[in-house]
Amino acid sequence: MSDKPVLTLRDLSIEFPTPKGVVQAVKNLDLTIQKGRRVGFIGESGSGKTTTALAVMQMLAEPGRVASGSIDLVGTDVLALTEEEMRKTRLSRIAYIPQGAMNSLNPVMRIEPQLWDGIIAHEGHMERAELKRRSDAALTSVGLPAHTGELFPHELSGGMKQRVCIALGIILNPDLIIADEPTSALDVVTQRQVMQTLNDIQAQIGSGLILIGHDMGLMAQSVDELAVLKDGELVEHGTVKQIIEAPKHPYTQDLISSVPLVGGDSFLNPERNAEAPKRDSSEPLLRFEKVRKDYGAVTALHPMSFALQGDTPQIISIVGQSGSGKSTMGSIMLGFNPPSQGRVLFEGQDVAAMNAAQSLEFRKNVQAVFQDPYACFNPFYRVNHALKFPFKQFGLAQSEAHTQQAMEEACDAVGLDPDLVLSRYPHQLSGGQRQRLIVARALMLSPKLLIADEPVSMVDASLRATILSNIYDLKDKYGISILYITHDLATAYHVSDYVMVLYKGHVVEAGPPKEVIGQPQHPYTQLLIDSIPWPDLDRAWGGGRSDWDPETLEAEAERASAVYRGDVVGFELARV
């Protein structure tokens, strides 16, 4: 390779002709990526970052097309290549590491043949032993044991699958690697490991790297240069240091400030409603009595007891990685998933032993907000149907006008304009609007308890804070206690009254957030916090320790006993 730039985009415009007119997805983009450099493309969904990458791959979805400009890959004019030449360029010169690691591998093929077919498509048939040698080398280079190649995709974890995709990306030593949100489906600990692998291997083969993402923290810890995109335009480009320390464009400033930090200013509205409605009942709102859940031989949740009084509304956060048992807890609380042992009591009533009338009352009082707001709407109905239906079903509606009024109030409460959203179909709304409608829907039933399971993990970073503060404000305004299930420690730090850290179905650390997340004591909590990428160059990933090794820390975490920090009035957790 010469010292030519790996990729030069000159005046690149991409458009999507639709029956309603031409949509400009990318506008006059100029960008050069030097050999060995890592460049982050950051922006919200719809900003054109993935579209640009796909244009470089010549894989734009129909009817997208490059309207003008040029794409130069180490001296080759990509736009002038024939289809067959472009096919040969993919993988051998530009490798693409996709977003959906979970689903990027052919489920009916073992891993090895999926690496081999890539080699064969570019270099022709060769000895099986040679193929095997190369796939083993690629897998080993991303830190996977060579026998991984003999497994099927479903036998691997998400992190392992993403490493396989990286192994595939580097198998032909490309000039450029495009990684499209490679860690968005992974939890923080795995995310850090996978990014480390990607960066190491990229440095080793000396290719250029485009990292597409929306998380300023991840970018700060991973790339050399940043290109900030908004509505198809490059609004700012520079080194990470320049951009993080002195962002010029207001949008970049927003992106940086929207990452919630542990400590520092809260994103919540400081004006609190001191007069929160009180609940009058002697029984605790929600009580877990030695609740345990097994799936076959696996114990997802070890016996756990707690009582949430709920006299004054509180937010209890349950944090942990995927597989920690936090979503299992959520579904047990909702009564969707009966515990294997123990009892769940809602206002003194066993959730598993309710009669029809009690069950109806329970459903009204316990509402949920899930991760994927789109999946929560029936795509055939306008969204007001989703709001109206439960309201009428639970007998709360006095008249059509009353229902309308309730819907409008609920929309106002979550900061939506009812005239604008209510008569739309789900697909016509943004992710943030949908999730706020789901909160509004829950609100209309005046529940006593809201279970929010990763409510903002699928929403753009800039909207997360808004939606969380919506939920937070409801707590005081309507007297709703909230169980906030999340992997995001920074938001849990700000919104919660009490935090439980879950690891392999055990509570490992619990207490007020300032103590548990602010000064973690349990090795697992420390591991989680050290894995968070901060948009701060002085605060290096992994707590700045050079010997940072998640595996040793996890082993340490397994041996350590649970740490119980300060108590909070209204929530009692039984110590194990």
Partner: protein
């Protein structure tokens, strides 16, 4: 390839036996709900032949004894079940005293041949066309021609059969009108006989193919659209694999999985669906046997044919269940 876990095998075997047992029972019950007395029908047949029958009461009793329907129901039921185990369904009442098993054994090879032949062709063509309808590199002509060809799917098989007979057998005289083989050849494993069978089987098979391929095409089209949007297909393209390889190994290979299950279920349905086709082509298969048996109220034959249909469906589903872990590795994982 891995082994089939024992628990899984036992589970499937129990399901198989239970399915057959329950189905056999239902087949036995249904004709007994009918008010018709097969002995009276047989007597009626004798009477219409001989003009009059003396001591009819005695003959009826004798007929009932021969048919075994004079015994208590429970005895009849267990006799029937033990008989069904060894494919003994008693004697046909219409073609008395030919054993039902002989009738079935004579008809079965013809139907199996015609059915498997046309089912495999339909499955292959239907799925390939369905896949090509979705594939973005198919020639334009293919994408236009397939939906047009699917018009045939809405034609009932009896009509397509008659239409084909009229055009290719009556008008053009390219193919014989009816029968399973030429009356001038001796049945046996000779080239003359085999070619005659293929020649005679062509039109009936074609009439089945053109009306049933649309089922597979539409199903496959839907499955392919889902698979086309999967990330692994996008990644396959990003890997620079050849388009044809992506089509076969990544797209069709995944989309075909539910179709294979449907294939097993179709086997039983096909015999039933073939009844009229066999009838109009005077093809001596199971379909025609069943058709005649229903006309003649020949309960033992109806039972026998239904039993064989169920047995074949249950067995093919059983085989697909055993085969499935090998074609979809995720299934094995769940069973283990």
């Amino acid at each position: 390839m891995g082994r089939i876990p024992r628990d899984y095998l036992v589970n499937r075997l129990v399901t198989l036996v239970l399915t057959i047992l329950i189905a056999a029972t239902i087949i036995w019950i249904i004709p007994r709900l009918s008010p018709v007395d097969p002995a009276e029908i047989a007597l009626g047949r004798m009477a219409s032949g001989a003009g009059a029958v003396a001591n009819s009461e005695e003959i009826l009793a004798q007929l009932r004894a021969n048919m075994g329907i004079d015994q208590p129901l429970i005895v009849q039921y267990f006799k029937y079940l033990t008989g069904a185990l060894v494919f003994d369904f008693g004697l046909s009442t219409a073609a008395f005293p030919t054993p039902v098993s002989t009738l079935i054994l004579n008809a079965l090879p013809w139907t199996l041949g015609l059915m498997i032949f046309s089912l495999i062709i339909t499955f292959f063509i239907g799925n390939l066309l369905g896949a090509l309808m979705v594939w973005d590199r198919s020639p334009k002509l293919v994408r236009v021609a397939i939906p047009a060809a699917m018009v045939f799917t809405s034609i009932p098989p009896i009509l397509s059969g008659l239409l084909l007979m009229w055009i290719f057998a009556a008008k053009l005289q390219w193919f014989p009108l009816t029968g399973a083989y030429s009356i001038f050849v001796e049945p046996g494993w000779t080239w003359d006989f085999v070619s005659s069978v293929l020649y005679h089987g062509f039109l009936p098979a074609l009439s089945i193919v053109i009306v049933t391929f649309g089922f597979w095409t539409l199903g496959m089209r839907g499955l392919m659209i889902t698979v086309q949007g999967e990330d692994y297909v996008k990644l396959a393209e990003a890997k620079g694999l050849r388009p044809r390889y992506i089509l076969y190994r990544y797209m069709i290979r995944n989309a075909i999985l539910p179709q294979i299950t449907a294939f097993a279920l179709k086997i039983g349905l096909l015999i039933a669906g073939q009844v009229l086709v066999e009838r109009i082509f005077a093809y001596n298969g199971m379909g025609k046997l069943l058709y005649d048996a229903i006309l003649n109220q020949d309960f033992p034959v109806i039972q026998g044919v239904s039993y064989v249909i169920i047995l074949m469906t249950a067995l093919s589903v059983f085989l697909v269940d055993l085969l499935y872990p090998f074609i979809d590795p995720r299934i094995r994982h769940e069973a283990a």
